[in-house]
């Protein structure tokens, strides 16, 4: 028995040598992944070059669907909104998170597990549920307006999600609520890992809180900042659920975003080619932004 095992082991290839059996292990996953993800994406690219209403025969469109992204105001607007929303979905959470990490990096906190659990909670709730909760807060007789009236600012109260000017920032604030906890948890964990000695050394050099932040905290958190920006940007641009449940893109198209426009065009107004072009453009935008983030934030580490 033992001998047989030894001879078998002997005949086996050396470790690290190429093994064809690897393909067999990958095959099941690859088939599902290729058929239901890669192939449809390829079809999206193809569809983006045709005009199709989903029923009759598709006709070639050349680059028309892509040209329309720049020339058609109703297609430019969603992308503009998405970029504006990134201020709320990515920039603001990261800024708030950094500010807090800066203030809190000096103190040891008791009950951190509790705070972390609560702050991260918005990330695990279904966005549909988040949308229902915030619709209620932002409703004409919702919590926000009640609070404004209670402190004598009733003049500012308005139907936030139905207001042409305020609907977009209102939806943005919901995104800030979702993303801030993630950034805080990331940065707090990162700040704990910055060696205490660096802070002590900075203080010995007479650095104030501001310079300490700039020279110790910020460089120390660079990897976490890259992760936070990547996650919030990707989530912010994939943002369909929240828009669908809170505003449906309205009023008018004041809160329409590319993710919503894909659905709207493909399944409500039968502009399948155009919808595919929006989806592909959104993909390109996500890739460009995430690559830029990793270049800017991580690459500067000389």
């Amino acid at each position: 028995m033992r001998l047989a095992a030894l001879t078998r082991a002997y005949r086996r290839r050396a470790p690290g040598e190429p093994r064809a059996i690897g393909y067999l292990y990958i095959l099941p996953a690859l088939i599902v992944y290729a058929v239901f993800l890669l192939y449809p994406f390829g079809q999206s690219v193809w569809l983006s070059f045709v005009n199709w209403d989903g029923l009759t025969v598709a006709t070639p469109a050349g680059f028309d669907n892509y040209r329309a992204l720049f020339t058609d105001a109703s297609l430019r607007a969603p992308f503009l909104h998405a970029l504006l929303l990134l201020l709320f979905y990515a920039a603001l959470p990261v800024a708030i998170g950094l500010l807090l990490a800066a203030v809190m990096s000096r103190a040891r906190v008791r009950g951190m597990t509790f705070f972390r659990t609560v702050l991260f909670l918005p990330q695990v709730l279904a966005l549909i549920v988040v949308g229902v909760a915030w619709r209620s807060i932002l409703a004409p007789d919702g919590l926000l307006n009640d609070a404004l009236r209670a402190v004598g600012l009733g003049g500012l109260a308005r139907p936030w999600l139905g207001d042409y000017t305020w609907a977009l920032p209102a939806v943005g604030v919901v995104g800030t609520w979702v993303g801030t906890g993630l950034c805080m948890v990331l940065f707090l964990a990162g700040a704990q890992r910055i060696p205490r000695e660096l802070y002590e050394a900075a203080r010995m050099d007479g650095a104030g809180p501001l310079r300490e932040f700039r020279t110790v905290t910020l460089p120390g958190l660079r990897p976490q900042i890259a992760v936070a920006l990547t996650l919030t940007i990707v989530a912010g641009l994939r943002n369909f659920d929240l828009i669908y449940i809170t505003t449906g893109g309205g009023p008018g198209n004041a809160t329409s975003v590319p993710a919503y426009e894909v659905y709207h065009r493909a399944f409500e107004t039968n502009q399948v080619g155009s919808a595919a072009a929006v989806g592909v453009a959104l993909t390109v935008l996500i890739f460009v932004l995430t690559v830029t983030v990793s270049r800017l934030v991580e690459g500067r580490r000389a």
């Binding site: 569809l47 203030v103 991260f120 709730l125 007789d141």
Partner: protein
């Protein structure tokens, strides 16, 4: 040494953000126990006792019993399929060398940032053509494919980090690649696997767009889709809407509170480059 002031500021800030994070959650909870048919669409506090009947109404009148059943079925199958397939593929990518493995692995990684919106349109027409829309398959297969991007990435990281010595020892003992995987590496990798399981569970349970596009009949609705339609019909009934929201969020929140480390690790880990 930190001063008392610094400590108080720290706790003050944490408390403030805890309140902000919890306000919508607690608002929904209190509203869910409030009276039905109040004209208030905002949050409310239960005035005359807790109305547990809201949950029963949402369950039966809102058909959330059926929707929860559908969600459980879809989620269980997606999580099981993703786990098995991701372990197999992650194992090969992690410990074996073969031509093209890098390229193939990067194909999976692309899926981490590829937005659903970029493939859902053709996917719908393909599945409709195959007469699979309005079936559980239309929810299970695409969501398994999407979860695999994270699953394969995550499991490969685990297998890469697992000790070479262990694999070698198993090999010398005569174990082939298959037994090494299931007898040695999978039992050792329970933490990594459970992280993947909870993340996939949460994503699948919360998934909305796929269900919205693929399902038009009520029999196959999952809970998020059910809630969206429920809001359309009962938007004036804040109590029922809130009760339904609680029913949907509860399973994920319970698992999250129990295993929050796994959740946070998994959700932050997906973006960490090598």
């Amino acid at each position: 040494m930190t001063t008392r002031l610094e400590r108080n500021v720290t706790y003050g800030i944490l408390a403030l953000f805890t309140v902000i994070a919890l306000t919508p959650v607690i608002g929904i909870l209190t509203t869910a126990f409030g009276a039905q048919n109040s004209l208030d669409t905002g949050f409310s506090l239960p005035k005359d006792g807790l109305h547990w009947s809201n949950f029963a109404d949402a369950w039966s009148r809102g058909h959330f019993g059926t929707y929860l059943g559908n969600s459980v079925l879809v989620t269980v199958v997606v999580v099981a399929a993703t786990t098995v397939l991701a372990i197999l593929a992650g194992y090969a990518f992690g410990v074996m060398r073969f031509p093209g493995s890098t390229v193939l692995f990067h194909l999976f990684v692309i899926g981490l940032t590829l937005p659903q919106e970029a493939l859902i349109v053709p996917l719908y027409f393909d599945l409709r053509h195959a007469e699979l829309t309005d079936s559980y398959w239309a929810l299970i297969l695409p969501q398994t494919a999407q979860s695999l991007a994270f699953g394969v990435f995550w499991m490969r990281t685990y297998f890469r980090g697992s000790a070479r010595a262990v694999i070698e020892a198993a090999r010398i003992d005569g174990a082939n690649t298959w037994t090494t995987l299931w007898r040695v590496l999978v039992p050792m990798g329970r933490p990594a696997i459970s992280t993947m399981v909870v993340i996939t569970f949460m994503w699948t349970w919360n998934e909305f767009l796929m269900a919205l596009v693929m399902v038009s009949d009520e029999a196959h609705r999952t809970v998020p889709l059910g809630l969206a339609f429920f809001q359309g019909r009962h938007s004036s009934d804040a109590a029922l809407l809130a009760a339904a929201s609680v029913l949907i969020a509860l399973p994920v929140v319970v698992v999250y509170v129990a295993l929050q480390r796994r959740f946070i690790e998994g959700m932050l880990g997906g973006a960490v480059k090598e």
